[in-house]
Symmetry: C5
Subunit: 355 residues, 5 copies
């Protein structure tokens, strides 16, 4: 995750606008699917090349083109050429180390943000970059992986009767953004559970280095999430401020709703950050408490037996004139001392609150 940010160094020294895929190698070969709809009709297809898509330009329908896997650079280049997209935008689509942003051009909008994917274990997350090109009648979505992220949305459009299909590309854009943002809540649920478990274990069990390590990893995870989510707030604000006629007035209320969700996600992230800082305090004071306990054990043993050993030492001395040695009840009496003294000391310590 951290690593991915520096990889842009691979491109250092290259011509700006040179189209190379910078990022992880996608898991599968790529897919090009189209969903074309109007209130009256709906068409789904999977294509190989851009030429199959061009025909939709003449129709008065909304066309959702989804490019999954970013290896087919020729395809993306040809989309750029056919729909008049700036080279730097295409470069941003291919370089999967982008910060979320919104850019407004004369006849299209460019949106790029990260979608959360479940990580390899509970202490990590993966991110997938999703880019959107929004035209009057077209929405292009570029994703790193081939997966079923937008499957529920597709289903909804297919089964929608009228309403969704009668709205423009801006409403489809909203629906896509909403789908991506809402993924965060699932991750936050899981994170919250992990943090709470860790907190409980810290309050009960021994503080181990392992726990510290976990706190550190969670902190990184949260910092990573914040880094990806917080520019989305600006993105949404920029969209709401935008005066592009690609975003209709009636869509604003939906975008504001997404914006509210983003704010709540960010707040929840901040809350978890505060909790983690608290965990570190608990961890550190647990170590100190542990030390206190160890010291108490040592002190009890030492304080009780060292005086006793001294007394035993006295009567182990070999002086000629030690009258006690000849008394008949001396030895049993000393045993009484050996038993009474520790008890007295313990009571004394307790009273003085030393132990």
């Amino acid at each position: 995750m951290t690593n991915s940010l520096q990889k842009p160094s691979q491109k250092s020294g290259m011509r700006p606008g040179s189209l190379v895929h910078v990022g992880r190698v996608p898991k599968s070969g790529g897919r090009l699917t189209v969903l074309d709809y109007s209130p009256e009709q709906l068409e789904q297809a999977e294509f190989e090349s851009i030429d199959d898509i061009l025909k939709y330009r003449d129709r008065d329908t909304i066309t959702w083109v989804m490019v999954e896997g970013l290896t087919n650079i020729a395809l993306i280049e040809s989309i750029g050429r056919n729909f008049g997209i700036h080279d730097l935008v295409l470069e941003d689509i291919l370089n999967t180390h982008q910060r979320a942003k919104f850019e407004e051009y004369d006849d299209h909008l460019f949106i790029v943000l990260k979608c959360l994917l479940p990580g390899d274990d509970r202490y990590s997350l993966n991110y997938e970059q999703v880019s959107l090109l929004v035209l009057k009648k077209f929405v292009f979505v570029f994703k790193e992986n081939v997966d079923a992220l937008f499957e529920p949305l597709r289903q909804r459009i297919v089964s929608s009767r009228g309403r969704f299909r009668s709205l423009g590309s801006d409403y489809l854009t909203y629906a896509i953004l909403d789908t991506i943002i809402d993924r965060n809540f699932v991750a936050l649920d899981a994170l919250d559970e992990t943090v709470t478990e860790l907190e409980d274990s810290l309050l009960v069990l021994e503080p181990t280095r392992e726990a510290l390590y976990r706190i550190q990893r969670l902190k990184k995870l949260i910092i990573g999430m914040r880094r990806h989510v917080s520019p989305v707030r600006e993105l949404m604000a920029a969209m709401l401020r935008s005066e592009s006629d690609l975003i209709e007035q009636r869509t604003h209320i939906y975008l504001r709703d997404v914006s509210d969700h983003v704010t709540r996600v960010i707040e929840s992230i901040e809350l978890n950050r505060d909790t983690l800082t608290g965990l570190l305090d608990i961890y550190l004071s647990s170590i100190n408490n542990k030390m206190n306990q160890i010291m108490k054990v040592l002190t009890v043993f030492a304080s009780i037996f060292i005086p006793l050993t001294f007394i035993a030492g006295i009567y182990g001395m070999n002086f000629e004139h030690m009258p006690e040695l000849h008394w008949k009840w001396a030895y049993p009496l000393l045993w009484a001392v050996f038993i009474m003294l520790p008890v007295a000391l313990l009571i004394f310590f307790r009273k003085k609150k030393w132990l």
Copy 2:
């Protein structure tokens, strides 16, 4: 509390604007009450369905409709249909994980915020979401629970002679907001007491893990309060900035008063946060002080008895030629040493300020 924020994940993947109640299951079955008043007359009633309310639309009176318990989705849907409320607003009313906000529409205002309820114990708080729809002659209030929160306000309207009843729906809105905000002061009183008690106990008693746990819980409680109260400041600012003709100029002074209260609540929360941070410092240094004391006990015992034991050990040796062993006063003399040496050491330590 923390938990409640993530629950929105339940809705992930659903159609935006789909009306489902997201949140805690309300405690009772729901209630629909109406208070309709003008300077001359006043009418109170409890209804079952929205149809009974529609008649008030034709009158020139202020109608306060209160929906308690959010299970009756049909009712809320029908309010939306009859009064021209946007689907997303209705969704926000039903989803009780909202951040406080103010939204302005052509012919109505939408306000949502949290009301504080006493928690299960002294270290927790509950929150109830209250949504307001303000129309020219109507104020709808949607609450999660059926309780007596607004009972004093209702009483005041009933017993008011003229003044209150001659003012518009904006003044009623103010009175409702004021009631909700002032609940915070009670909670802050209790919190203040809890914090002070904890502080006193930390300065006197032993530092226990329990205390740390309590500090953590209070910190979370305070963070939670701040999270719910701080957007209310923006809410009030937005209301004061608003140019909607639903808020008359003469109501501004009242809203500013509420706004002042919110600022004082936030300041008080910040103050408590600072105090808690101080508590953690006290806690940590208490642990260290404790350790110092334990170490002192150990050191006193060890430093005094170890040398004595050594001396006793000397005369326990079995050498043939140890002249002291045969002296008559050797043993009593050694006893003198056994008594003098610790005294001398203690005085020496004191002087050197080692102990």
Copy 3:
């Protein structure tokens, strides 16, 4: 101090604008004094009721009315009625938990802020709320206590020849604010001294829980001061921004001067806060240093005597075949070891910088 903030909870549930005194019970019965002046004449008087004041309305003089003690609610109500003051303003005057603020009305200004009073000991401060109502020819001052706070100012007006008396109510307002703000410098002098003494004692004496407790109290005191002074900055800025014709242009330079003083007070508070944070660091490291010293004592004693005791133990064994026991010089030789070994160990420890 902290406590006073929550007391507003007493009012929770009451009608807004209901006039009840919320705050400490004033120490004495209240006083109503008037100082009426113009360049030519000056009149001082102490009255019982508002009716005696109304006559000054017809004169072309500046009238300074001072209400000390806020128990006479009828008096304040009657001022409100006679001079057209809004109910909420009167409520703010009576509720002594206000944040400093400046409010502008059509024909009067309302200013409320806190004045510092010496506390019960060096670690506390008291605050008195002072409210000002500024009209064209009148300045009303409402104070919690009957005291001599404004005595020097009164004296100055009485003895002023022309200049002061020829200026308007805005200049009188400035003079009152200046008097209040300058009280802070005295408190800061005392605070500075207390902090410095505490710092010196921490660097020399033992770290005690008492010291920690003092640091905490000073921190609270400083936070309290900041909480009361920092809104005064906004208050002054609002006054300077104000376009009310009650504040003449030539008074602005004086208000700016007060504003500068406020800024310096706030900076000085911040400085003391930083110093206190530093004190906590000193305190914590003092505890650690202390522990180091105790450990050193223990380690020296244990490291020296434990080996010696072992040696003595060897020759206390009862083996038949221990040739050393029969040597004539064995015992004196061992004494030499008992003396040399500790010396050698101490030198060794020193060299290794272990102790």
Copy 4:
């Protein structure tokens, strides 16, 4: 690095605008190279004096003049005289302690920023100041060192067919800035690796002072980077805000791209800063853990052997009447105690979780 900032004190007391090179002595003697291009032609040359450059003024080509090594003050003075550059700008070029900034003049732009160079070891970085003077047809670049920093860019221009060469001096400026900013990614890659290694070693190995020292150095390195990079963000914002006709509209998209890169660099720096703060926490808790372990060893040994020694001491006493001494199985039985007691204690400690 830190040092370099204070060196300006050398100039204290001198006339403003006096041209003296303040900074490190450059490594080599300096170089003056020119790259003059238009779509049709391209000319490269290395010159000795400014006079050779003046001829390019009459041509309609873009001329990139690069001055490496800032010792030839006469040369820079003469550039200033011939191209109408303000004395203070020339002073800024020569004083290599500048903060990154953008200044707009009537007929030229002045840009100064730092370029990252690899440091002497993994814990340091060097910086080279690069100043740009952008005129309509000229771009002057002033560098501290003679090196191959812009070699790839030069190659690209030489091999460019048409496109690059047909764009103006603003596009060249963009290409230069892009080259400088992208250097940061390489440094961040290395930094990231160093931090990760340090973190891994802290979690496995002993905490040494060396590690603390490294954390401190990395912190300084990161603070240094941030100090140099964060004003670049303002620089880019100022360039984008600028209304100078030296920056064409179509270049804005490229500048925005650089600006995005700067934002990502700053974010990555912040991320590393957070990680380092975490490292310090790990370091400190490692020390405490270490101490815990040492204490455990001590406590185990002391708690087990001190009681045993006491028991042995008892039967070393010389009382006449100690019946146990004469029992036949007393000694073997005691051996049983000597073996059983430690085992019992260890089990007891484990159970109580004391050790």
Copy 5:
């Protein structure tokens, strides 16, 4: 330094605008010097009273009047009267506890800021307040001490041929400000050296209370510097924003240069602050490291000798039936154990990484 801020309390209760010198008593008796110049001529003189200066008002030259030592209140009053300066400005000049600020009047500008002077030792700094009154043809400078601060500047004007002397009072103002600001770089050089030395000593030597004390003093010094320098940034911004015709457009570039210097000073101060925070971390972890080492010494001695003492104790017992006591090689064999056991333990500890 801290102290000086509170001294304004001396003035508490006095008439605003009353001219009393508040601050340190100046070291010498005061001096009034004049430097009057135009491109053609130059005149230097030292006067006793203001009357000698009035004659310059009629000339078309720039007159630099410098008042050193603020004891001659009559002089300052008479300047105020003769040049139409507001009483509050004169008060600000005399009260040397001002925050840096810029004030704009109809026909003059008022600037006040602090100049750094070397402190009594390396851990302190002194500040001298310098006030400037800028008129069309006059610049008044008021300083606390009589010293040679502006001697280099005076020399430059005297020896300037044309250029400096042909510029107005605003350029002189710039030159004075530049001189004052550049003093900071010298102080920062020294500070940087002190901090670096302290850091080096902390990483090598023992952590002493003395070091902590030094860190605290340096922190205060840096806080003090920041407090004096940071309002200078606002001062410069206000000057650049000012539309007074006393500041000509061509002077702006020079003021911007000073502003850049101030920014660099502030950045350098922040950097040192961060380093000092790091020093505290090093200090605290040094104490902990020290404790670890002491504990190790204790643990090694105790862990090795306590078991040996026990073994010796066993054979000091007086049981009748102890067969080992009669074996011939028992004693030498035990010696072997006494030597082998410690070695084995040490190897074991090392392997377990306990020590």
